[in-house]
């Protein structure tokens, strides 16, 4: 099932969603949580961002998405500078994110959560109901159809009428993915998609990520589940104490003693 239609790059057929982070710095008082980070999440690839707790990964995610902008450096999505944009503008450029702890609108249904994503809906202006009722109805129908197909793709159809606050944590993670997909993003930032998700459901999430990536969506993923990271990611960036300490493919990361010492320990060495 083809779910999204992400915009392609400037050259015909090239994937979009290249994220360039150059010398990004973000401080909280004297603490440089992100301390001169540079790396590239290549368009059409799945890049993993790993590192010990407190390494600055989520802080960097927040900065990329416009929540707590960086103090210096640059962040570019397909040559568009994001570092000075507000979160909703960044979202409009084709960058969607999910959160480590899901944040659905708990008192809205799963379907409503997904349907409210598209921006500039004609029905948001009440006079359109009188002036352009046909447009409002057509748009509503198109949104509903799209939301339903995404919900089905994410395996959420059985709970689409349930309040988002009443479904399990793993299902809420899928709601977040579904909401991201409604925006036809070029790149999706996933913050620990595996945390709190049972292994069988995790397989479903991994399947969906692989399918979406094949459709051209770029992914940048923070994750501690090393089986998932090593098998899913084309490229892995390792952060510790605010800096990039290593990057490369799975084999080189597993063999890097700095990564083993700072992060993996004996379990994956």
């Amino acid at each position: 099932m083809h779910i999204v239609t992400p915009a392609t790059g400037t050259a015909a057929g090239t994937p979009a969603g290249a994220l360039h982070i150059m010398n990004a710095v973000k401080s909280f008082g004297a603490n440089r949580a992100v301390d001169g980070v540079s790396f590239v999440a290549e368009a059409g690839k799945i890049t993993g961002l790993i590192g010990p707790n407190g390494a600055g990964k989520t802080t960097l995610f927040n900065a990329i998405a416009g929540e707590g902008p960086i103090d210096s450096g640059s962040i570019e999505l397909d040559a568009v500078h994001l570092e000075k944009l507000k979160p909703h503008r960044i979202f409009s450029t084709g960058l969607a994110r999910t959160f480590q702890i899901p944040r659905p609108f708990a008192r809205m249904t799963v379907l409503e959560n997904v349907m409210l994503v598209p921006e500039e809906q004609a029905g948001e202006k009440f006079w359109n109901s009188w002036v352009q009722p046909g447009l409002v109805a057509r748009q509503e129908r198109a949104n509903l159809d799209k939301a339903r197909s995404i919900i089905e793709f994410c395996g959420l159809t059985p709970v689409e009428r349930q309040l988002a606050g009443s479904i399990s944590g793993g299902q809420q993670k899928l709601v977040e993915l579904a909401r991201a997909l409604m925006a036809d993003p070029k790149i999706i930032l996933l913050d620990e998609p595996g945390a709190g998700v049972n292994p069988a459901l995790l397989d479903t999430i991994v399947d969906r990520i692989v399918a979406l990536n094949k459709q051209g969506i770029t992914f940048l993923i923070i994750e501690h589940n090393m089986d998932l990271v090593m098998s899913l990611c084309d490229h892995i960036v390792v952060m510790a104490t605010g800096k990039v300490i290593a990057e490369g493919n799975a084999a080189s990361i597993l063999a890097d003693t700095r990564v083993v010492d700072a992060y993996l320990g004996g379990a994956h060495a």
């Binding site: 909280f28 603490n31 790993i50 590192g51 010990p52 707790n53 407190g54 390494a55 989520t58 480590q100 702890i101 009443s166 479904i167 399990s168 944590g169 793993g170 299902q171 620990e192 595996g194 945390a195 709190g196 998700v197 049972n198 292994p199 069988a200 459901l201 995790l202 397989d203 991994v206 399947d207 692989v210 501690h224 589940n225 090393m226 089986d227 998932l228 098998s231 899913l232 700072a262 992060y263 993996l264 320990g265 004996g266 379990a267 994956h268």
Partner: protein, 243 residues
């Protein structure tokens, strides 16, 4: 009277009395035993330990600790009954410092004892000492989990219940947390934890309960269940290995 340190029998519980999520679950934990609860998302695992902890009402069934009925004890009385509960999220006071969070966990003790217990907590979790006077909101998700566990241990509970203690933790820290929980068990404390990191949890725990749709599905020694084809098929899956 139950011969187990902790026993839940035929517990029915949920967020609304007319919509029980837990529909007659039974389980027990012996002294110095580590027990894991696993199951698909929505199986009722977190609901079960919330109900035991008094966070959610139990509409029928019974819960006993050391032979004493604690079924309907309010949450605050649970701590005095030697049960500690570490929720999955929102388990620290972010606007308080790390030291204040720990002192709150020991607030029922005389001050000298409280300070002694907090000092022991820093010995067990040295990383927290570096942030002693920082607000908990500056901690990463994993560091918050460590603080929550450290605070739960301050009262020297007989039974500590944890809702996904490894969620959001780095591999190194997962090993560390499980090793510490194992040390606790060796010192005589009992542990009941809900985990999605099932393989790792089953490696360190003695027994495992699998819940599905609010009911007991299967239980037994963790080492045996980890090899059980039904458990692997319905629950463990490929664990994220795909490509």
């Amino acid at each position: 009277m139950s011969s187990h340190l902790f026993e839940a029998r035929d517990v029915v519980a949920g967020y609304r009395p007319d919509l029980p999520i837990i529909q007659g679950v039974s389980m027990h934990v012996d002294k110095a035993e580590m027990v894991t609860i696993i199951g698909p998302n929505g199986a009722g695992k977190s609901t079960m330990i919330k109900a035991i902890a008094g966070v959610l009402p139990i509409s029928s069934g019974s819960v006993t600790l050391a032979g004493k009925d604690i079924t309907h004890l309010p949450t605050h009385a649970m701590a005095a009954s030697s049960i500690a509960y570490v929720p999955q999220t929102e388990n620290v006071f972010t606007s308080l410092t790390i030291n204040e969070n720990l002192l709150l966990g020991a607030s029922s003790m005389p001050k000298p004892k409280a300070l002694e217990q907090v000092s022991k907590a820093y010995d067990k979790f040295p990383a927290l000492k570096d942030y002693r006077d920082k607000k908990a909101k500056v901690l990463s998700g994993g560091q918050r989990q460590m603080l929550a566990v450290a605070r739960a241990l301050l009262t020297d509970p007989h039974l500590i219940m944890l809702d996904e203690p490894s969620a959001g933790l780095s591999p190194l820290m997962v090993s560390d947390v499980f090793a510490r929980l194992r040390e606790l068990v060796e010192s005589g404390v009992s542990v009941l934890m809900v985990e999605q990191n099932a393989k790792a949890a089953m490696r360190v725990s003695h027994r495992t309960y699998v819940l599905a749709e609010g009911r007991n599905r299967v239980d037994g020694p963790s080492s045996a269940l980890a090899e059980d084809p039904e458990v692997i098929a319905i629950y463990l899956g490929a664990g994220g290995r795909k490509r």
